[in-house]
């Protein structure tokens, strides 16, 4: 029952295909290609300097009232002022503490849950429908409810952070866990590993760098929510300081606090990136 290809019909005598002129290869904007070092440095410099220079120019020209757009000097002075008075440090610590508790709690819940959802079809069936739904509820819409449930103190702020980050971190962690190759799991069983050992020695180590990346992405969301939470009611914190400065039209202070938030966020990002690169040396 060997089937050999019969003599195929000869190709008709079509006109030759038109040829396109070869395209010139882009130097800097070639898709995914590395770019020359000078171009890279110049682009990075542009990315930082252009907005900065525009800010300085606009405020120096006096085109916008100081209340709307304070000058860089005024912002620097306001920041220095706050840090001398000691409020900056207490505000940073207050916000950071809320993040540590609220987001920390979210990590403690979302990592095992993500592992369950990504590693087990049963876990996926059990949790994905509800987590996938809850993710779409905006955390800030919970503020009134949280106030009713938990009052206006710390618990409701921490809870807001938790609600705002836990669902995303769960789903993202589950995705990372799902990417562990099935062959690695299968081969572990053939080497005598039990289910728990496969989870501990194969699934978790393989997913760990990705899990840290999820935390990195969601840490940014945690910063968003801590400021939102503090706008409502609090005595200290960076969000509170912003709300308070607004009452005095002190936009220089608001700008200074925004800069502080950006710098701390960047620092957290860099630390987590270093941690990921260290743990994920094998990637």
């Amino acid at each position: 029952m060997t089937t050999v290809v019969d003599t195929p019909p000869a190709r008709p005598d079509w006109p030759a295909l038109p040829r396109r002129k070869p395209a010139r290869r882009a130097k800097v904007w070639a898709i995914r290609a590395p770019i020359p070092r000078p171009a890279r440095v110049a682009l990075i410099a542009c990315s930082v300097l252009v907005p900065l220079v525009a800010w300085v120019a606009v405020s120096a020209a006096g085109a916008v009232p100081e209340q709307f757009l304070p000058s860089p000097q005024a912002v620097w002075a306001a920041g220095l002022d706050m840090s001398r008075a000691g409020t900056l440090a207490t505000d940073i610590w207050a916000s950071l503490q809320r993040i540590l508790i609220g987001f920390g709690l979210a990590i403690v819940v979302s990592v095992p849950l993500g592992l369950l959802m990504g590693g087990f079809r049963a876990g996926q069936a059990l949790f994905e429908p509800v987590v996938g739904l809850l993710r779409y509820l905006p955390a800030s819409a919970f503020i009134p409810l949280l106030t009713i449930w938990l009052g206006i103190g710390e618990p409701s702020k921490v809870m807001l952070l938790f609600i705002g980050t836990v669902f995303f971190n769960t789903l993202m962690t589950a995705d990372v866990v799902r990417q562990v190759p099935t062959a690695l799991v299968d081969v572990s069983y053939t080497l005598g590993a039990r289910r728990g050992e496969v989870v501990r020695k194969v699934v978790v180590p393989h997913a760990l760098p990705g899990m840290i990346d999820c935390v990195r992405v969601n840490a940014a969301a945690a910063w968003n929510f801590v400021v939102v939470a503090e706008l409502i009611n609090s005595e200290e914190g960076l969000g509170y300081r912003i709300a308070r400065s607004q009452r005095f039209l002190a936009s220089d202070r608001i700008f200074a606090i925004l800069v502080v938030i950006a710098v701390i966020g960047l620092a957290i990002d860099i630390v987590l990136r270093l941690l990921r690169d260290r743990i994920g040396r094998w990637v």
């Binding site: 029952m1 060997t2 089937t3 050999v4 290809v5 019969d6 195929p8 190759p181 062959a183 690695l184 299968d186 081969v187 572990s188 069983y189 053939t190 080497l191 005598g192 590993a193 039990r194 050992e197 020695k201 194969v202 180590p205 393989h206 040396r281 094998w282 990637v283």
Partner: protein, 251 residues
């Protein structure tokens, strides 16, 4: 002894394997060949216990295969080495699960590293290795569990010709040094005849045993054996069998 009786495997309406009966005596090197779709890999995953036959039984030393275990080592074409573990920690994975002293574990890992020529690479990560080296890690890792049967699923299919020949000599030497039963799936008939003491040809649709041939070649084969007339004759015979059961492109 590995013994299959009337093993079938169906996926819904599709029959991947139908009524396979085979006895593989201890220490035999058996090669499974067949066109793609003949169920070679399915058969191997049944032997590994990663999937269960729809009907029929698989016995290893008289006890039924009910799931994967270290008595049947498996090597995938992709190797499936742990990317986050160094070479030596890959090889030691199965031993870590057992109650062994560090010294005992180390002694065994050292032997398998040496046997597969990986001693100098022991602290490397898989990403630093070539395809052939990675495959050697996978083989050493499976062997370290001292399996009764070593199952190889097209282990050299993704390697270049020279590396492939090196690996063929390596697996022959390992087989001679350890006396392990080997069941190897390959689509390379030359490889099957060179390595196997026995070559089983599977036919497609449904997957079934089409031919069961004994390789009557000297035990001390080397690469030049591939040019012997009796080698070429047997190779041609197996190739004919494979072709006979392959559905080609119909015009």
């Amino acid at each position: 002894m590995l013994s299959l009786s009337s093993v079938s495997r169906r996926y819904g309406a599709f029959t991947a394997l139908s009524d396979i009966s085979l006895d593989v005596p201890d220490g035999q090197f058996l090669c499974l060949v067949g066109a793609s779709g003949s169920g070679k890999s399915t058969l191997l995953s049944l032997l590994a216990g990663l999937s269960m036959p729809t009907s029929g039984t698989i016995l290893l030393d008289e006890s039924p295969v009910v799931g994967p275990g270290p008595d049947r080592g498996l090597v995938f074409q992709s190797g499936a080495v742990y990317p986050f573990r160094t070479v030596e920690r890959n090889v030691g994975f199965g031993l870590e699960l057992l109650d062994l002293s560090r010294a005992e574990r180390r002694r065994r890992v050292d032997w398998y590293l040496a046997e597969t020529g990986l001693t100098g690479l022991r602290r490397q990560l898989p990403k630093q290795l070539s395809g052939g080296q990675r495959q050697r890690v996978a083989i050493a890792r499976a062997l370290a569990c001292e399996p009764s049967v070593l199952l190889l699923d097209e282990p050299f299919g993704a390697l270049d010709v020279q590396t492939k020949e090196d690996m063929q000599l390596l697996i022959r030497r390992i087989w001679q040094d350890t006396g392990t039963t080997v069941v190897m799936v390959t689509h390379d008939v030359e490889e099957a005849v060179f390595l196997g003491q026995r070559v089983v040809v599977l036919a497609c649709d449904p997957g079934r045993v089409a031919a069961d041939l004994t390789v009557n070649l000297p035990a001390d084969r080397d690469l030049s054996s591939k040019r012997l007339p009796e080698f070429l004759a047997l190779r041609a015979q197996v190739e004919d069998q494979v072709r006979a059961f392959h559905h080609g492109i119909s015009a």
